[in-house]
Amino acid sequence: MSGLGFFIDALGGFLTSPMTLFNVAWATFLGILVGSLPGLTATLGIALLTTLTFRMDGTQAILILICMYVGAIYGGSRSAILLNIPGTPANAATALDGFPLARSGKAGKAMGIATAGSFAGGLIGMLALALVAPVLGDFALSFGSYEFFWLALFGVLISGQITTTGDALKGWIAGFIGLFVAMIGQEGIHSYQRFSYGSSDLSGGIGLLPALVGAFGFAEILTVMKARGFQSVRDASDRILPRMGDVWRHKRTIVRSGLIGTFMGLLPGVGEDMGAWMSYAAAKRASKVKETFGKGSLDGLMAAETGNNAAVPGAIIPVLTLAVPGSAPAAVLLAAMFIHGIRPGPMIMIEFPSFVFEVVAMVAMAMFAMLIIGLMLTRPLLMVLAVPRAYLMPLIFTLCTIGSFAIAGRIFDIYVMLAFGLIGFALREMKYPMAPLVLGIVLGDLLDKSFRRGMTLSDGDFVAFLTRPISAFLALACLLMLLGAIPPVRRRVTALFSSLRKKPSETPQ
């Protein structure tokens, strides 16, 4: 059966099952709620929902998690527009123009444009998922230990480089802390217990979900409680349903941001935040009215929301084909797939070819649910933002405690959540990004096994890591990233590029 056939089959199955439609509706609605509440992120939402759904059928569970993912990234735009506090980090760029629009009495219009942008971005990303995933899956079949070692290292480095503003060092440190965390416990080649010191809990390793719930849940609670209360705009009495003409006016921004967002999603551990920032920056560069950006530009708002939602399906592409997450929420999705017996990675197009297109259909269901719920329930959702944090945060922490414990039933995982909450809070306060830390934890095992297997295969000759075309390319990319972080090298390269750019204009026509 062809890809389109698998997709239509899956979509037909979902649309004719009342239970599936019910699951899509509540999970997307819950996702929008989670995203819109400061203190709850998409990563935390998916992690908590993984604990609730791990006894369900795998397809339904993954569908619910994808709906939560799509809903949460979109839902974050609500608090960004109305409170000037991004509901999730992916909506930070949304607040730049969304909040000024809301303050000038156009909150409804801003929410309408954000919804249209999110939907359009999601569709572009979904199309890319359907087209790119099978090709990348086939391509990944040629990957061996050498390629996977470089891919894991490249993932940690690029995530550290892009998720920090200008300072790759802090991102890399966060990534290497994540790699170290992945080294704790019994390793997979000789079954030796590393950094366990006789503790049976540590010998099992640090669970990804408790660590993420701590770093994204408990740390966020501390951040929210640290700040004073916030001022909000709760008047959205203007028209919410966007006019087709208003959306069509931004067609170039939508296509550009959709492509940028998808590409950012594809890069390991980069994800929705950078999808939004890069799209916003590109829209500003291309705009004839740059001065309106940051003061209520509809184009800026459209770019940010299209970019972050396009990154959602984009981040799922490497999850399915390489078992490498494109973002922090995608890392939880990857863990959930393993829990449900689905083995993402290069073999997916051989072992579960229909699953890739089922995921495309799941994204489509989530996108349409997001559009309908987002436009219909705008005013009721405003009431949720009025819940005081003193009531909301202890509830979230109670869920974090249950979420950490539920999957393995270990009290130790609650302690892991507390420890990672503290570490995450401290690192955030010092401007260390969390995405590379997560990616380090996820990719640590792959990096470790691939390096040691590769060295064993080549009998200790590291040159073997550089001679195959893909591994040589990835090694070069890592090297360039490292060199680019050295200030004198960066300055020279920048000077070289600017002199090259000047030369053609100096040549007389």
Binding site: T164, R228, P388, T398, R452, D459
Partner: protein, 182 residues
């Protein structure tokens, strides 16, 4: 950062990147942390006695991670060492106290109460005390402290919310989703 209308806008801006005193101190911490990891990795068995390639030894990759962390910590320290003499910026008034209270309550619940008393009771006590403490504190900060009847009503509301939430969470997880609670 506060804009012209007094609204906090820092949340929406990308973080700035000036070296700080904390960076220099963390640089030292990472150097020591990296050295400890490297030392511990060095102490791990080489597995040569089992006929394995030395490069497959369990300490190889942790050792590399330790060396990289040491180097990065060193660069971080070198880059920000001038900031050691700069006093750290003063935070928002009361923010440290709010964080400490939150930490105390959360650790009291998750580290002490959970597993010691039934979950529903632990959750109720945590929710009630958290809501009361911060609700009263927020009111005081806003200059509208609660007294008399208003205070009694607020306590009753917090009690009801905590009781209903603790019972609902416990029931939904245990009886609807069949998730075991600590």
């Amino acid at each position: 950062m506060v804009d012209d209308t007094g609204v906090t806008v820092a949340e929406a801006s990308p973080p700035s990147d000036q070296p700080t005193r904390a960076d220099a101190l963390m640089g030292i911490v990472f150097v020591f942390f990296g050295l400890i990891i490297t030392f511990e990795a060095w102490r791990m068995p080489r597995m040569e006695e089992f006929g394995s390639n030395i490069w497959s030894a369990p300490g190889v990759v942790p050792g590399m991670i330790g060396i990289c962390l040491t180097l990065m910590g060193f660069f971080l320290f070198m880059r920000s060492r001038q900031a050691l003499n700069i006093a750290p910026p003063k935070g928002e008034p009361g923010s440290r106290l709010r964080v400490l209270i939150t930490l105390g309550l959360c650790f009291g619940f998750a580290f002490v109460a959970v597993g010691l008393i039934p979950f529903v009771l632990a959750a109720f006590l945590f929710l009630f005390s958290f809501i009361m403490i911060f609700d009263l504190q927020d009111r005081r900060v806003e200059g509208k402290p609660l007294t008399g009847n208003a205070l009694v009503k607020r306590i009753a509301l917090a009690f009801t919310v905590a009781a209903v939430a603790a019972w609902t969470i416990t029931t939904v997880f245990e009886d609807v989703f069949f998730v075991r609670l600590p």
